[in-house]
């Protein structure tokens, strides 16, 4: 059963709902999110969409990586 994620939800919400999201994001290269305090603060403002734009990560790579872990990303 696939879980769905929204690009425009805050990272904080995404990770609170499913801690696995954090690991996937780390795998994708979002290193800052693991730094202390980041999730609680910047993570509340940051969305997956902004992160992808900031890190210039290919959206398809993101989608595929999430898919591999059983998540579907809605645009």
């Amino acid at each position: 059963m696939n879980k769905t994620l929204s690009l425009n939800e805050s990272i904080f919400d995404l990770v609170s709902r499913d801690p696995e999201v954090m690991d996937i994001m780390l795998e994708l290269g979002f290193r800052d999110i693991a730094k202390p305090g980041m999730l609680q603060t910047a993570g509340r403002i940051m969305t997956l969409a902004k992160g992808i734009k900031l890190k210039k990560i290919d959206i398809d790579t993101v989608k595929q990586t999430f898919l591999r872990h059983g998540f579907i990303i809605q645009e």
Partner: protein, 419 residues
């Protein structure tokens, strides 16, 4: 001596109150009163109202009062008839951060100029340089980088004015990380300038250094506008923004400056129209008795500010308690640092030096430490003294900074008055 009011809270409670009145009025309408009847009451009770308030009220009518959505929709036309005049009369910009002079507005204004500089000028000159590394283009690049160095002021305001407030709200991680990146960018710009002024034909190296600068600066703009500033807007009170705006000019601006002073629209609160210059305007008029004399507070303050040195004092808990405010401070200090720990006032990269020094002072291993650095035409002598009471107990550290270039330049002697 009124403490500054937290406008955000005042505003919130007022809104709920207004909404309650609005709801009552709508319910009266619902119960069959005429538009004219409630209109008068509405104007008297509420004054003007925002569209957001109406929709919030309509929402709570549906959820809390159980009035069906279709019913609320039917009432919509009536709402409009009542609210029309007042909604149209509101011309207040909905977001204070969009008003010129608001610190967020200024940060964004600067960011637009920074973007122009790196994405157009620097980018263009870099491409030209890649094709032909002649002297003219090197000069252009040096000029661009010189302008870009001004980003230091933008960063400094962020680090010294905005971060302290975020730290007050428990936000440390992101600010520390960002400060580190800021320092990285400062370093990169200086490094690239050095490479270009002593250009040795290492063209690819310079190009990739420039490309890195462009990339990092753009990312920082993005991070500020998409994360930092929204987060700050979420946390800080209006009064805190006012204080930041007030202190901004002591650090300066980068490539663009606010066109006017930001005066937030206040809730009509008698006597609170103007924020006092400092929270303690009614400073004690008393005198301080020393072992060796008596001074008024005013005299003492003036003396401190007339000393040709910059003083900063941190207490035994490493909290910044005081700094003198002479005419030409060598290192910018703003009131926002008061009450912060000194560790949070230094770039993360140099914190360990500060820590080590304080440790030596506290343990009694050292009583003083001096540094001296040459910055342009200034020769800066920075001295740190452990402050101890008569029993030798550590009570804090005094930082004593002085430009000794004019002193070092003295020669011979001078025994008569200048004309």
């Amino acid at each position: 001596m009124s403490e500054l009011i937290n406008n955000r809270e005042v505003h919130a409670s007022e809104q709920t109150h207004r909404q309650n009145i609005l709801k009552e009025i709508i319910k009266e309408l619902h119960a069959g009163k005429s538009v004219e009847e409630v209109k008068a009451r509405f104007e008297e009770a509420v004054g003007d109202v925002t569209v957001a308030e109406i929709s919030a009220m309509e929402h709570s009518l549906m959820t809390e009062e159980g009035i069906p959505a279709s019913e609320v929709q039917r009432l919509c036309s009536v709402h409009t008839a009542i609210f029309k005049g007042s909604i149209e009369e509101i011309h207040r910009p909905s977001k204070p951060e969009e008003q010129p002079g608001h610190p967020v507005h200024t940060f964004k204004l600067e960011n637009r100029e920074i973007e122009k500089l790196v994405n157009f000028r620097l980018e263009l000159h870099k491409d030209k340089f890649r094709k032909s590394d002649n002297e003219a283009i090197i000069f252009k690049l040096l000029e661009d980088l010189g302008l870009l160095l001004d980003i230091d002021k933008h960063f400094s305001r962020k680090e010294n004015l905005l971060f302290p407030y975020l730290e007050k709200y428990g936000i440390y991680g992101p600010t520390q990380v960002m400060w580190g990146v800021d320092d990285g960018i400062r370093g990169m710009i200086k490094e690239a300038k050095a490479q270009l002024s002593g250009y040795t034909g290492n063209r690819d190296e310079v190009v990739s250094a420039l490309e890195l600068i462009i990339k990092e600066v753009n990312e920082m703009v993005f991070k500020e506008e998409n994360i930092l500033l929204p987060m700050a807007l979420d946390k800080l009170t209006e009064d805190e923004w006012v204080r930041i705006a007030r202190e901004s000019s002591s650090i300066g601006f980068c490539l663009a400056a606010p066109e006017k002073e930001w005066v937030p629209e206040r809730n009509p609160e008698p006597g609170n129209a103007e924020v006092p210059e400092t929270a303690d305007t009614g400073a004690p008029q008393g005198f301080i008795r020393f072992d060796t004399g008596i001074l008024s507070v005013q005299q003492l303050e003036l003396i401190m500010n007339h000393l040709p040195v910059d003083l900063t004092f941190i207490d035994e808990n490493d909290v910044v308690r005081y700094f003198s405010h002479g005419k030409e401070r060598i290192f910018a200090r703003t009131k926002a640092v008061i009450g912060r720990t000194v560790q949070n006032c230094h770039p993360p990269q140099s914190v360990h030096v500060v820590e080590k020094l304080l440790e030596d002072f506290k343990s009694g291993r050292k009583d003083a430490e001096d540094f001296w650095i040459q910055i342009k035409d200034k020769f800066i002598y920075i001295r740190y003294f452990a402050i101890r009471d008569k029993a030798g107990r550590y009570l804090g550290t005094l930082e004593f900074t002085q430009n000794i270039a004019p002193i070092r330049a003295l020669e011979g002697q001078k025994r008569i008055l200048s004309e």
